[in-house]
Amino acid sequence: MASENPTASEYIKHHLQNLTFGQHPDGSWGIAETSKEAADMGFWAIHLDTMGFSIGLGILFLVLFRFAAKKASVATPTGLQNFVELMVEFVDNSVKESFHGKSKVIAPLALTIFVWIFLMNLMDLVPVDFIPRIATDVFGIEYFKIVPTTDINAALGMSLSVFFLIIFYSISIKGFGGFVKELTLQPFNTPIMIPFNFVLEMVGLLAKPVSLALRLFGNLYAGELIFILIALLPWGVQWALSVPWAIFHILVITLQAFIFMMLTIVYLSMAHEEH
């Protein structure tokens, strides 16, 4: 902690600061000691906690699913295989319902998005002080944020990847000309309205990744913040608020993962279809 007895705002700020590694303004490399230092590092810095947890959870997801997939047999499935098949079938149905093109990427992409985001969101249910306290007391790490999706970088990283996929598919399906036409000749199909159309469509296009990222980030950030605020209460009454909020949050984290997945599917199916 920054000080032995932090004020409420110090406590909150502390909890919202990532473990940042980057170049200090004076040229030396290292971990930011304060949020000011982290901000000064600019773009060329990396959040070790976000990266660590997201990659760890991603690997957990893939190892679990790979393990089940390897053992996937036609005979009666059990335990893990059941669960994995359930997830795969759920995602497959969602994809089949809203995506009518042919693509080998969409379904695994949707599965990855859903499970990975769900796992990252799930970290929100770990008591807010639990892991940061261990990190501070055992490893001497000052800042530690365990929910990757409350880091705008994580959400935006995924939504930008989806955005590039949208552009990639738009161009590979409709051709570059078709993509440009889609941006310029809608909704008013006259040459005079091309600039207007372009601005309108561009806003629509760019809003997709931004809204995708901000929706996830905003929901999880707000949820995390409320957990932090609850953690400021006297310890005897915390459970009265944190338990209902955590239960409600189970819905939120699942829903956000689902929304991210569904919107990705919808955006990509829109990229596949001619208007």
Binding site: L16, N18, T20, G22, A38, A39, M41, G42, F43, W44, A45, I46, H47, T50, M51, S54, I55, G58, F61, L62, F65, R66, A68, A69, K70, A72, S73, V74, P77, V84, E85, V88, E89, D92, K104, V105, A107, P108, L109, L111, T112, W116, P148, D151, I152, N153, A154, L156, G157, M158, L160, S161
Partner: protein, 156 residues
């Protein structure tokens, strides 16, 4: 809350995860699911077919049973008829035989009677001659005559 390299790092790891999922997780699970659903569909179809076959076999068995029952009834009826016929024939035969035997016996009896009568007649004439001889030869004796006549009559 700063935008930084984490963004790119996240995008890269995301891409790798998606690639791995696409390559090593999705296909085997989907393949297993599809194969299982196919197997289940096949099983259901086989069950359907089997039940249809069973129904057919049942029907066939019923028909065969019915036919054989009919056959048996017919055979029994024929046998009965035949038996009755045989009995009737036997009866007629017996009656005819009896009649014939009786007639034969009667004819023989009549013949015997005729023959006896013939013989008697012959003997009567001899006796008459013998009687007449005796009457003519011996003294007339009322008492003896009547005895002779009586004897004659007895001999007749």
């Amino acid at each position: 809350m700063n935008l930084n390299l984490t963004l790119i790092g996240q995008a890269i790891s995301f891409a790798i995860f998606v690639w791995f999922c696409m390559k090593f997780v999705w296909p085997p699970v989907i393949a297993a699911l599809e194969e299982r659903s196919k197997k289940i569909a096949d099983g259901l179809e086989a069950a359907n077919r089997a039940s249809r076959d069973l129904e057919l076999a049942q029907e066939q068995a019923d028909q065969i049973l019915r036919e054989s029952k009919d056959n048996a009834a017919e055979i029994i009826e024929q046998a009965n008829k035949r038996a009755n016929q045989m009995i009737d024939e036997a009866k007629e035969q017996v009656i005819a035989d009896g009649k014939r035997l009786r007639e034969a016996a009667q004819a023989e009896i009549e013949q015997d009677v005729m023959r006896a009568k013939e013989a008697l007649r012959a003997q009567v004439s001899v006796l008459a001659f013998a009687g007449a001889e005796k009457i003519l030869g011996a003294t007339i004796d009322e008492k003896a005559h009547s005895e002779i006549v009586e004897q004659l009559a007895k001999e007749l």
